[in-house]
């Protein structure tokens, strides 16, 4: 996309005087341009993804003894596809901007210069994040489909018509994940280093939602786990992909919208408090 490559975009934009979202679309587009240069670098992560999935294929191959056996209600194929999908979301959204970048902006005082522009800093960061996963996620999705068909076999009862609904849930999940990580990063306004909290949150999601579906855990724990962000961020969307039903889809969407709303309110509260502190103390 150079000087002349994006005529269509310019024609859409021309003539419309006031579109408050346009600037965020442009931030998104700029990150896209920035990251397209590094698509090859992103592909370097494919190897780790492959190793991770390979281990799980071996693990579950050992655990499932007879074909058609169910563990926690999942067939072997579903179980492996589950972890492939959650890992796809994790690898595909590597949230460098929402985690490291925000903390660095705050600590270095750079945030003051970013806030001085006519956009909202948190939306700016979320646009950047979206621009990042827009390139990574499709690359990992493709990889997952290739590994899945070659090494695991197709999902039973998978319907292509349900893919758009699944995609919506995945995107919402990624966004909620980013909002929560952003909230943690914003603690940097008060504490020296927020990375331990990031680490805790990441590990919680990884162990409880990414590697194993919630049904693996003791019955007593399950309702509790379903109330954590894990349900909306990775368990829900991945479960939907391996075992789709319209009811489940609606349930997850409702939970996601609730979580997104709560997360955003929380985020803007923390942000506003933090900014006030910044204005007083300087960067």
């Amino acid at each position: 996309m150079g000087k002349y490559g994006d005529k269509s975009v310019s024609m859409n934009i021309k003539g419309v005087r006031f579109r408050p979202w346009r600037k965020y679309a442009v931030i998104y587009r700029s990150v896209l341009m920035e990251n397209l240069q590094y698509a090859a670098n992103i592909a370097m992560g494919f190897f780790s993804y492959f190793v991770f999935i390979f281990i799980f294929i071996k693990l579950w191959g050992y655990m499932y003894r007879t074909p058609g056996e169910l563990i926690a209600g999942y067939t072997k194929e579903q179980m492996i596809w589950y972890v492939m999908m959650t890992e796809m979301m994790f690898f595909g959204s590597n949230a460098a901007s929402v985690a490291g970048e925000v903390a660095r902006d705050i600590r270095s005082g750079n945030i003051a210069y970013l806030m001085n522009k006519p956009y909202h800093y948190t939306l700016y960061i979320l646009s950047r994040y979206t621009g990042e996963w827009s390139i990574r996620l499709p690359m990992y999705a493709l990889l997952a489909v290739v590994i899945g068909t070659v090494m695991v076999g197709p999902l039973p009862h998978f319907r292509l018509t349900a893919v758009p609904a699944m995609a919506v849930c995945v995107v919402l999940g990624l966004t909620i994940h980013a909002v929560f990580k952003l909230c943690i990063s914003l603690f940097s306004f008060w504490i020296e280093d927020a990375t331990p909290f990031q680490w805790l949150y990441d590990k919680l999601i990884l162990v409880v939602g990414v590697m194993f579906p919630v049904e693996i855990f003791p019955k007593a724990l399950q309702p509790l786990l379903k109330m954590t962000p894990i349900y909306t961020v990775c368990y829900g969307p991945a479960k939907l992909i391996v075992d789709f039903s319209p009811e489940k889809c609606l349930e997850i969407l409702a939970a996601q919208i609730l979580y997104l709303t709560v997360g955003c309110v929380l985020m803007s509260l923390i942000y506003r408090k933090g900014v006030r502190k910044l204005y007083v103390n300087g960067g």
Partner: protein, 291 residues
């Protein structure tokens, strides 16, 4: 009309203090001690629309802190600020549309994008239409001679090229006031001269008010008629460069005369030295330290 009005502006930072060594570290946990730094201390001045003002002073004098308060990045804890009739504290976003800022030591450009894509980005941020942005880019890249490298990623540009792009990016939305915090820092003399010329041109052709901080005497001599000198958060001088010079010239002459009278060497009287602005500033800073 006045572009900037500042009355009795103050800012005090509270910083943690720690005595030396391990003992000090432990003590600091038990009895945290803070120290107050009066970064800006009762500053008042005003700048006319279309004026070019140099705001100068030694390191730590409070120049950057003042610019931050004028642009809404930092809240003052005393006094009143108005930029283009807007209180930066209350309407920061609204003000952002009408001012431009360049911080010589901060990058605002996205280093992985080309200048052209950066300018398009800033155009959109400031709600310019696609056509307005294109026209403005064409106009400014012509004037700032960016065409040779407008499609090269910013990370591959030289410092001089980059700072020119930074300035263009801050001018995309035709700001009425341009704040520059040490814009020529680290540039070689030729690029410095070039940047100054461009700033001057913006002032002349678009009537942009220029508020500039610098250490560089050249910036001041070449650009500004008026200077404000700050030290320790206070204004020690607010005058035209010309008057400052002639005042010092007279003072020097008088000193030389007095000394020659004392030593009885009246013939030296004629050789009142032609003092440079640099020497004047050093003298002012020194006398402040003594006082």
């Amino acid at each position: 009309m006045q572009a900037i009005t500042v009355e009795n502006l103050s800012k005090t930072f509270r910083v943690k203090r720690k005595e030396k060594g391990m003992r000090g570290s432990i003590k600091a946990i038990l009895h945290p001690q803070t120290e107050e730094i009066r970064a800006v201390n009762g500053v008042s001045f005003s700048v006319d629309e279309g004026e070019m003002l140099a705001f100068i002073g030694p390191n730590g004098a409070g120049k950057s802190t003042t610019i931050k308060m004028l642009t809404g990045i930092l809240y003052p804890d005393g006094g009143r600020v108005e930029v283009l009739g807007i209180d930066p504290m209350k309407k920061r976003k609204q003000l952002a549309y009408r001012i431009g800022t360049v911080f010589g030591q901060k990058e605002q450009l996205w280093t992985h994008l080309t200048p052209y894509d950066n300018f398009r980005f800033f155009g959109a941020i400031y709600d310019l239409s696609e056509r307005e942005t294109e026209e403005r880019i064409a106009e400014l890249s012509e004037r700032f001679e960016l065409n040779a490298f407008i499609d090269t990623p910013v990370r591959n540009l030289s410092l001089g090229q980059r700072i020119r792009c930074e300035i263009v990016a801050s001018l995309i939305h035709k700001p009425k006031v341009l704040f520059l915090d040490e814009p020529t820092i680290g540039l070689d003399p030729v690029v410095k001269e070039n940047v100054r010329e461009l700033i001057k041109q913006m002032n002349r052709e678009e009537h942009t008010t220029i508020f500039l901080t610098s250490h560089d005497v050249g910036d001041i001599e070449k650009l500004c008629r008026r200077i404000i000198i700050v030290n320790d958060g206070q204004i020690v001088l607010d005058d035209s460069v010309e008057r400052l010079k002639s005042h010092y010239q007279d003072k020097m002459a008088a000193d030389v005369y007095a000394r020659s009278q004392e030593s009885g060497m009246a013939e030296k009287y004629e050789e009142a030295p032609n003092i440079s602005l640099e020497e004047i500033l050093v003298d002012i800073y020194r006398s402040e330290e003594d006082g």
